[in-house]
């Protein structure tokens, strides 16, 4: 055993000399050194468990696969799972626990913007790495966070373009849940629509509380708004549970997708799993991934997900793909850096390009956002989406929206010499504005 170890060490030295040898070699060595710890910060109880549980399992599956393929840098990966229970302050506590007590090398986690914003100071203070998998409102770029979900220009703006140019929509009802993501996104969209020449009276904005269940008046208002002779669409940033009664009410009041299509940014396969989708057929969603995309990578991913879950009906969705991409990017960056050291990984990950599940590549940009294709899907009776439109190639994520006056001049780049998440190109300095308010 000792001898074997010595041989291994010798080989390891040889491999360290040549980075190329590293990748092929790592398959043989495993678990002798301390494992690399992968923190998972997703709610497994409380309101958000509905969405976040699948993400925790995704990371577990990816770690398992990576270990089967021989681990990373010759070391085994070990997931460290905590449960912040949909409680925003607890996210910060658990993040601190992961970084300080467990000393994890990387964290995959959080879903809502408020939970991300609650852990952000912790990650910056303790210099950790956070991979964030969900589409969000933008207006943020942290040195320690990698945003693998869509920024508004990778989801909302292309969706509106599609409706405007391909469907011929002239009136817009922007419906959202009352919190930061819908409010910021709607602010961006409103400006974008006005820039495109849409009149004030052709834009309707409405916010509802979390878990809103009585949609009668709002749907009736939308129907009335859409009955004035111009083609109307609903742009929905309604989040979570509230979507089910919303769509049910649309169906009951006889609003079909042919009359008033609804394009949603927060409704994916997972959310549709709890709905009778028959009345929703034809309504739209904009994402960077759909389970129905028939690429070989995706079919393999779905198959291994089914095996991992032991359930052939389990669905995959966009944030799961974001974790898939984020995880592979991190693995590749660690390989390039030859270490899991946070600063080294931060530097090596920019420019890393890994395959996504829809036949393209995702590249990490200097602003810590990724390139993603944008797809519009129509809901099918079986709860899946059929892609009806997609961008010609991948769209790079824009951290600071060009359609908001307060952020039009701001850019982010974590590459030298800029090294700033909120650089103002007008004044030529790091503006310090961050964490979107």
């Amino acid at each position: 055993m000792i001898k074997l170890n010595r041989i291994r060490r010798q080989v390891a030295h040889a491999a360290a000399a040549g980075a190329l040898a590293m990748a092929g070699f790592s398959g043989q060595v495993a678990a002798q050194e301390d494992p690399i710890k992968v923190g998972v910060l997703h709610s497994l109880s409380g309101t958000m468990a509905i969405s976040e549980t699948a993400l925790k399992e995704t990371i577990e599956m990816l770690v398992e696969q990576q270990n089967e393929a021989g681990g990373l840098l010759g070391r085994e990966l070990e997931p460290v799972v905590v449960d912040p229970a949909s409680d925003w302050p607890r996210f910060a506590e658990q993040a601190r626990q992961l970084l300080e007590d467990e000393e994890v090398d990387v964290v995959f986690g959080t879903w809502t913007s408020v939970s991300r914003k609650s852990v952000l100071p912790v990650f910056e203070e303790l210099n950790g790495l956070l991979f964030y998998p969900v589409q969000y409102e933008g207006e943020e770029s942290s040195e320690n966070v990698f945003y693998l979900g869509a920024a508004p220009n990778q989801q909302a703006i292309p969706a509106v373009d599609y409706l405007m140019n391909e469907v011929g929509v002239e009136r817009w009802a922007l419906l959202g849940t009352d919190y930061v993501y819908p409010r910021t996104t709607n602010k961006i969209l409103e400006q974008y629509l006005k820039d495109a020449g849409v009149a004030d009276e052709d834009i309707m904005i409405n916010y509802t509380p979390f878990g809103h269940s009585d949609w009668q008046s709002i749907v009736s208002d939308v129907r009335d708004f859409g009955s004035q002779g111009k083609k109307t669409a609903v742009v929905s940033t309604i989040n979570g549970d509230a979507n089910v009664p919303f769509y049910t009410e649309l169906g009951n009041q006889g609003v079909t997708a042919s009359d008033i299509p609804v394009v949603a940014f927060s409704v994916g396969e997972q959310e549709l799993a709890g709905i009778d989708t028959e009345p929703l057929v034809g309504h739209l969603a904009a994402w960077n991934y759909f389970m129905s995309v028939p690429t070989q990578e995706n079919l393999e991913f779905i198959q291994s997900w089914h095996e991992f879950k032991g359930d052939t009906d389990a669905v995959t969705n966009d944030p799961m793909e974001a974790h898939y991409i984020g995880f592979n990017m991190w693995v590749e960056a660690v390989r390039r850096a030859g270490t899991t050291d946070v600063d080294a990984v931060k530097e090596s990950i920019v420019g890393v390009s890994v395959p996504n599940l829809t036949g393209g590549y995702a590249t990490m940009m200097p602003n810590h956002h990724a390139t993603k294709p944008v797809m519009i899907g129509e809901i099918q009776p079986d709860g899946q989406f059929a892609v009806v439109w997609e961008t010609a190639g991948e769209v790079p994520g824009d951290a600071w929206s060009d359609y908001l006056p307060e952020s039009a001049d701001i850019i982010a780049s974590w590459r030298k010499p800029l090294l700033c998440g909120n650089y103002n190109v007008e004044t030529g300095e790091c503006s310090g504005q961050n964490y979107g308010d």
């Binding site: 109880s45 269940s213 009585d214 009668q216 002779g229 049910t248 009778d276 009345p279 129509e378």
Partner: protein, 542 residues
């Protein structure tokens, strides 16, 4: 010679294989072959080509054209990954049962990896609906004709108007004739002759349909003819007035339906809190248990979804009631007279029940299908329709209300419950087992909460958090209506619902909720006993 015939047949087969990919179809008639080509063209690359193929199918007049088009918009049309021929597919266990679209014969089975859906978009779906509707105009079935005219009302192009003009005379049903006249009138509004336009306006008088309103509005401002403008203007203000009136009626209906949900959720609490004085924070979770019972009942009878909800009503009552009795026996009876401890204990219980459901059923929401007879709406006129599921919930809430009244006023149990709540010592003295009555009363309250769960499963999500959304509202209704009074809960629930729905259009949903809360706080300051103060208490204390 014989070789020659065989040769040609072989060529034909090859051609057919190339075109539609199915060798067996070589013996089909010419019409079938052509139709098969058109169907095969549906599996095209671009949506434009697909739309053209759908149009060709509609024009073919083939007996199976409408079947294929219907399957296309119902997303039941698939193509084989290998070969690419188009098939009708019905999902079965672990795959699909295939049917040949041209002949209607069974064409074997396929797994989910062997076939893919023929994808269409909303534009094509709309066009195909119009195509089906035009074919449906001459159907012998009145419902098909009615739906067809309704569909075409959205898009009355001149060709449609022409077709309808020839059909309207022979139409036996008066309401379909009326809709047909609308289509004709709308198309005549675009006529070049002012006199014709005036006639069309006359014909459309009385209709409140969106399309009529929009076109009349257009004429009222843009028509070159003075008389047309005037008449259209008069008609427009008439339409707007009427629509406003109906809009008011709609708001009242929305308010009543929201109120009926509130009071249904609050009835159980009115019993446990109102009659027994127990602050039960797990009330919402009892509602959730009722909703999950509905889900389980539906799982148990997968072939009778339409009736499972009728079975779920007693089942949810019994299951939630049993939970209620267990909670009362296990926890609450040790805490009578200690409201703070009861509050904390039941709050903890609510968290335990939520997590229990998460563990048993997963944190994901469960899908409870609505029976067919509960979806859709009754259209009173173009500006006002009543959604059926809401109507049923209002009726159900009233039914529960009167059943509870009857229990309290007419049964021995009700008599004893009232006796214990008014004067426990005296009730015990005359031989009422007060602890048994306590658990029965709590069980009744819990059972009624379960009934609310059945109703809510039809309106909102069935998930672990279902109950949380209703616990605060339930307390509001009970306190507002007057503690210990079912009439108070009825009036309280309905009036809060209507108030909310009248505020909502002006203030938005978030502020409306806040305003209602402020209103209740002020109201309770002024009148702490609520709308209907309890009368019995004074007697027992006096």
């Amino acid at each position: 010679m014989r070789i020659n015939v065989g040769y040609w047949r072989f060529i034909g087969m090859m051609l057919a294989t190339l075109l539609i990919g199915a060798p067996a179809m070589a013996q089909m008639s010419d019409a079938d072959t052509e139709f098969a080509e058109q169907v095969a063209a549906l599996n095209a690359r671009s949506f434009d080509e697909k739309a053209a193929a759908a149009q060709a199918i509609a024009d073919s007049g083939h007996p199976r054209a409408s079947t294929v088009l219907q399957a296309l918009i119902d997303s039941r049309l698939y193509f084989r990954v290998v070969g690419g021929d188009v098939v009708l597919a019905e999902p079965t266990d672990g795959g699909f049962a295939l049917t040949d679209p041209v002949t209607g014969e069974a064409a074997g089975t396929a797994t989910q990896y062997e076939v893919r859906r023929v994808v269409i978009n909303n534009a094509i779906r709309g066009e195909v609906r119009d195509l089906i509707a035009r074919a449906g105009l001459t159907s012998p079935d009145a419902t098909v004709r009615r739906d067809a005219v309704r569909q075409l009302l959205n898009n009355p192009d001149p060709a449609v108007a022409e077709q309808i003009a020839t059909l309207i005379e022979d139409e036996p049903k008066a309401d379909i004739r009326q809709d047909m006249a609308l289509v004709l009138g709308l198309s005549r509004l675009g006529s070049d002759e002012p006199a014709e336009r005036l006639l069309a306006l006359d014909a459309l008088r009385g209709s409140l349909a969106d399309r009529v309103r929009n076109q009349v509005r257009d004429l009222a401002t843009n028509d070159p003819d003075e008389r047309v403008r005037q008449q259209a203007g008069a008609m427009l203000s008439n339409i707007e007035d009427k629509r406003q009136l109906w809009g008011l009626a709609e708001q009242v209906f929305f308010g009543l339906s929201m109120g009926s949900v509130l009071m249904l959720a609050a009835f159980g609490l009115a019993i446990t809190f109102g009659v027994m004085g127990v602050i039960n924070m797990a009330h919402g979770e009892l509602i959730m248990i009722g909703a999950y019972t509905t889900y389980v009942v539906q799982l148990l009878m997968p072939n009778h979804i339409d009736y499972s909800i009728l079975v779920a009503i007693p089942a949810a009552f019994l299951v939630a009631g049993a939970f209620g009795v267990a909670i009362e026996r296990g926890v609450i009876r040790f805490l009578y007279g200690r409201p703070l401890e009861t509050l904390l204990a039941t709050f903890g219980l609510s968290l335990i029940l939520q997590q229990l459901v998460r563990t048993v059923f997963s944190p994901l929401n469960r899908q409870v299908s609505s029976p067919a007879w509960m979806s859709g709406s009754i259209e009173v006129n173009a500006a006002f329709s009543l959604t059926l599921n809401r109507l049923y919930v209002i009726a159900f809430a009233l039914l529960v209300f009167f059943a509870l009244l009857a229990i309290f006023k007419r049964t021995t149990l009700g008599l004893r419950v009232r006796a214990v709540s008014q004067n426990r010592a005296m009730a015990r003295a005359v031989g009422v087992s007060s602890s048994r009555i306590d658990s029965l009363t709590f069980g009744l309250g819990a059972g009624v909460a379960g009934l609310a769960g059945v109703a809510l499963s039809q309106l909102t999500n069935v998930g672990p958090n279902l109950g949380q959304g209703y616990i605060v509202d339930s307390f509001l209704v009970v306190v507002f209506g007057g503690v210990g009074n079912l009439w108070g809960t009825l009036v309280g629930g309905l009036s809060l619902g209507v108030l909310n729905k009248f505020l909502e259009p002006q203030t938005g949903a978030v502020l409306a909720k806040v305003l209602v809360l402020v209103f209740i706080i002020l109201f309770i300051q002024k009148r702490p006993q609520g709308l209907f103060p309890q009368r019995g208490r004074a007697a027992s204390e006096g």
